[in-house]
Amino acid sequence: MTGNPADAPGRRRAGVERWLRGEIAQAARSGVRRAIVLGALAAALAVPQAWLLAHAIAPVVLEKAPVSSALLWLLPVLPLLVLRFFLATASGRAALAAAGRVKARIRSALLRHLASLGPAATAGRGSGEAATVVLEGVDALDAYVSRFLAHLGVLVVLPPLVLVVVLPRDWISGLVLLVTAPVIPLFMILLGLGAEKLNRRQWLRLLRLSGRLLDGLQRLTTLRLLNAGDREAERLAEAAEDYRKSTMAVLRVAFLSALALEFFATVGIALVAVLIGFRLLDGTLGFEAGFFVLLLAPEFYAPLRQLGLDYHARMEALAAAERILDLQAEPSMPAGEERPVLGPALTIECEGVSFAWEPDRPAIRDFSLRLVPGEIVALVGPSGAGKSTLLSLLLGLLRPQSGRILVSGHDLATVDPAHWLGHVAVVPQRPHMFEGSVLDNIRLGDPDAGLDRVREAARLAAADGFIAALPRGYDTPLGEHGETLSGGQVQRLALARAFLKEQAGVLLLDEGTAGLDRGTEAAVADAIRRLAAGRTTLIVTHRLATVRIADRVVFLEEGRIVEQGPRAAVQADDGRFAGLLRDAGLAP
């Protein structure tokens, strides 16, 4: 171990910020620069404005000069104010546009990375969680660009400019500003570091508290069933009370940084005012200069106070960036690049294939199998036997850790995944229905397919009957906000998708465990037989009706083949067949 482990999060943060800066430079360097320059110009106008005001008021105060002489100095202030308004607006707009470009770029790259991860993208984490990073996570970066970075220009320009004009007129006030200014960020950093550590712990607590409410809401029915609603309410109240106490203890410390900032800014202004006052009384300073300096003193501290506000925006953005980087750090599988001519008749050979999701928990062990055109092979086994993992391996979504898969003699690991999938008709365990119509969902792979072809595919998949009964037939919307279909209906739409992919020489099908009634079960089995005709076919199934259409049955248990053979032969031994089916989780 090198270095102090306690430093690790801080160093990581620095790396995250470097990454974010790099992305910003790539996406919107000129936009950010424009925002900074325009913002700095707007802020700098405070100096001539104060100068004009001091000159306007001085003769009135000291000599009760007529208003006309004041007006002479006051009139030019108006265009300055208007100019400041336009510059500030333009700076803000530029910053927002830059932030938009940064968000679009990072989001686009993140989505592409997630797509390249394959099924691993959502393994061990809900797709909802990944979607939250894509949406809210990326949005949280906005403030880093549109506030923190955009305001940096003001911070860099205004305080030094104020110092430059104040020092020659009134070096004592200049000295007060000079001394108090660096103390502010120093204190903030010191206190901020401690507060950040506390903050993170608190953030975790808040998540847990939110989780508690969510837990309770999601399980409301069960709570009622157990007459436990009131007990859970009491616990919720206790948790919230605990959270309040611990949070307030943290905030009392965390807000000290704001207190320090406020203290030095306020004391600075007060000190400048008092010191100016005494020198005016002595006559060692002119009123004009004194008032000018007093007007500028708040402007001097304003960017520093703004920095205090932006500090939180920056922390939130960096926390979000960290989550984005976590996702992007997940390695995607190296893809093969060969695009061999595979021909219409395809064979698949698994040679001693092994795969483990976790090192000591193999999902597939030394698996060998040969699939040839025209033969339907049914793969059965209890849940957790490795059936779905095997299918992912055959689809090229996973790569064997030992052994290899040959497709018409080519090692699948070297073949371009998109090229390979072009030859495969797939019906996954839980086919996904996308936002869009029934029609669009069936012709997902071929958006130009006409209604006639889609209808024919649906008919072959035994789906046209229920589609016709839907409220708007083939135009019925599906997906999140559309019609909810039963598991069996979804499966038949996925079969229709597969029928539409006429050129595919391979059929890989995972039946899942969707409950079907007898009639539907038979219709689906029929459709699968039609679909499998002439193709190289592997079906993962839990249904007897599907096992009955298979030419060969393979029994899988704990990642190994425990029995295989032609269906007729296996079936001949009645008792043994029943036992195997029962062990595989199929009712005999």
Binding site: I57, V60, V61, L62, K64, V67, F85, A88, T89, G92, L96, K103, A104, R107, L111, A115, A121, D139, D142, S146, R212, L213, D215, L217, Q218, T221, T222, L223, R224, N227, G229, D230, L236, A237, E241, R244, T247, M248, E262, T266, I269, A270, A273, V274, L280, L281, F291, L294, L395, L421, P431, H432, E435, L444, G445, E480, H481, T484, G515, R582
Partner: protein, 560 residues
């Protein structure tokens, strides 16, 4: 509900914490006013000192210098105190809001919470509660502070110099009222668009992630990614357009503040020259008024951002009130439950419909189950088997008659019924906690022996003993660390522990291997010898082993 009505209800909800919130607002006002006073006194002080310097050379500077010190301290301490108090108030409010909502929802579940099909009710409620929590901190409090401070500053300035007060009041109204209102209007359309495109983007993102295999097989990944890029671009465009209104508003408040400073300087100067002010204090008042006018805008500066939130808050409040205002369909009557004569159940012509546009789940069900009978119900999914249990614990209202223990089911108080009838359902959930927590949730008084016995019956005792912390082992979010079969048996143990006279078992053997299933059924049979049991299953073997009688259900009726 109008905006005003929503606001009134929100304030009424926050009533119990009005002391804390009032205190937070008071301290915030003191801070802003101290800030204005600090600048005003400082301006007056240096002008008076300058005048004294060129005239008498005499000046009582102790009082104003002390004033500057005092206001500086109030401003510094006030800022700290205000932040602490407002967070204290918010956290108390947050706890109260959550509890209020939770208590309101308990009697509504499950029947009246299923209106939003497919939507994640719990997740959206959670987000809405958080939005409301911020409503007070970032909306109500800034508005109250702006109003109180603006009025106070204008009144004080009016005593010193009415024309400046008038100009200041007008500009404060522009900056705190007109500008935020205009900004809100400008941001409304793109803001709504942004919400819509965000929803579309979320759906498309989840589509991409969940449908990745389908997309790859269809060669449509690139197409989906291109569509996502388009949606993402639309989102950021709308976000920028909405935020541009805020940028403009922020700059407009700055412009108003500058104009206030300028007007105060001009108007006060004119009065000095015209001799309209007391000659002794008049000239020093010019910088004082100018600086105080500028500082007064600290009160209204947060308003544009605060008003921007109103739309979001209103939408969240609407959704929450809409749910919380539903009156429970099934409420306990005033009378105590009748003592059941036995554990028999009789359904006569029972009909149940979950929604008007859905086919009936039970359609004239007639079924008599004598006391102590073990009955199995077979039938395809959707036959109405699981609905029986939901009616017996009064989760849904029904037509027809159900008699339990010789009395009409509706005469029992729902809570008492749930003590009499135990259900181990397919969709019952486990809680984030230990095995013990989950068992205690069902029966808080259960002792170790009772828990062991229940685990023994469901064939989990050995498994639990071998866990690292035994019965105190954390089973993860919704029992994620258990297999499906184990989770189901823990739910079963939970139901047994409550010692109900009537027990409904929904597919207890699913996800179990054949030998475990056999053992489970045998021990369940022994443990439930004197109870009335309804077993719902697909497994004919389990049915034959367990029950005295088997009935078939289809289309919401007994068919044989």
């Amino acid at each position: 509900m109008s905006d005003l009505a929503v606001m009134r209800r929100l304030l009424a909800l926050a009533r119990p914490w009005r002391g804390w919130m009032g205190l937070a607002v008071f301290v915030a006002c003191a801070t802003v006013l101290a800030s204005v006073a600090l600048m005003g006194v400082a301006g007056w002080f240096i002008a008076a000192m300058a005048i004294a310097g060129v005239t008498t050379g005499m000046m009582n500077y102790f009082l104003p210098a002390a004033g500057i010190r005092f206001f500086a301290i109030v401003r510094t301490g006030g800022r700290y105190g205000e932040r602490l108090l407002s967070h204290e108030a918010t956290l108390r409010l947050l706890a109260g809001l959550r509890l209020w909502l939770f208590r309101r929802l308990i009697p509504l579940s499950p029947g009246q919470l299923q209106a939003r099909r497919g939507g994640d009710l719990a997740g959206s409620l959670q987000a809405d509660v958080e939005t409301l929590q911020h409503a007070y901190l970032r909306l109500a409090s800034p508005v109250a502070v702006a109003l109180a401070c603006s009025i106070a500053v204008v009144l004080v300035v009016a005593v010193l110099h009415p024309p400046t007060a008038l100009a200041l009041a007008l500009l404060l109204i522009v900056a705190g009222g007109v500008v935020p209102a205009l900004a809100r209007r400008a941001a409304a359309a793109p803001g709504a668009e942004a919400v819509a495109s965000r929803a579309a983007l979320r759906v498309a993102t989840v589509d991409l992630l969940q449908g990745l295999t389908d997309l790859r097989a269809a060669g449509a990944v690139e197409r989906q990614l291109a569509a996502l890029d388009g949606l993402g671009q639309r989102l950021v465009d709308n976000q920028s357009r909405a935020a541009n209104a805020g940028v403009m508003a922020e700059a407009a408040v700055g412009l108003s503040a500058g104009l206030a400073l300028w007007s105060a300087a001009l108007l006060a100067s004119a009065s000095v020259a015209a001799g309209a002010l007391l000659p002794e204090v008049a000239p020093a008042l010019v910088p004082a008024l100018a600086l105080a006018a500028l500082a007064a805008f600290e009160a209204v500066a947060p308003l544009p951002a605060a008003m921007e939130r109103w739309g979001e808050v209103r939408a969240a409040a609407h959704r929450i009130f809409d749910l919380a205002d539903r009156s429970p369909a099934i409420v306990a009557g005033p009378d105590p439950s009748p003592p059941p004569r036995d554990a028999s159940i009789v359904f006569s012509s029972v009909r149940l419909r979950y929604a008007p546009d859905l086919p009936p789940a039970l359609d004239g069900l007639d079924l008599a189950i004598p006391d102590g009978r073990h009955l199995t119900i077979l039938g395809p999914s959707g036959a109405g088997k699981s609905s029986l249990g939901r009616l017996l614990v009064r989760f849904w209202e029904y037509e027809g008659e159900i008699r339990l223990g010789g009395h009409d089911l509706r005469r029992y108080r729902p809570d008492d019924l749930r003590r009499l009838v135990g259900i181990a359902t397919q969709d019952a959930q486990l809680f984030n906690g230990s095995v013990r927590d989950n068992l205690l949730m069902a029966a808080p008084e259960a002792d170790a022996a009772a828990m062991d016995q229940a685990l023994e019956v469901v064939q989990l005792a050995g498994f639990v003993r071998n866990l690292t912390d035994g019965i105190d082992t954390w089973i993860g979010e919704a029992g994620a660390r258990l297999s499906a079969g184990q989770a189901r048996r823990l739910v079963l143990a939970r139901a047994l522990l409550r010692d109900p006279r009537i027990l409904i078992l929904d597919e207890p053997t699913e996800n179990l291997d054949a030998s475990t299933a056999r053992r489970l059924i045998a021990s369940l049979r022994a443990a439930t010898a004197h109870r009335t049991v309804i077993l719902i299953t697909h497994d004919p073997r389990a049915a034959a082993q367990f029950t005295d009688e088997i009935v078939q259900m289809a289309d919401g009726r007994v068919v044989g």
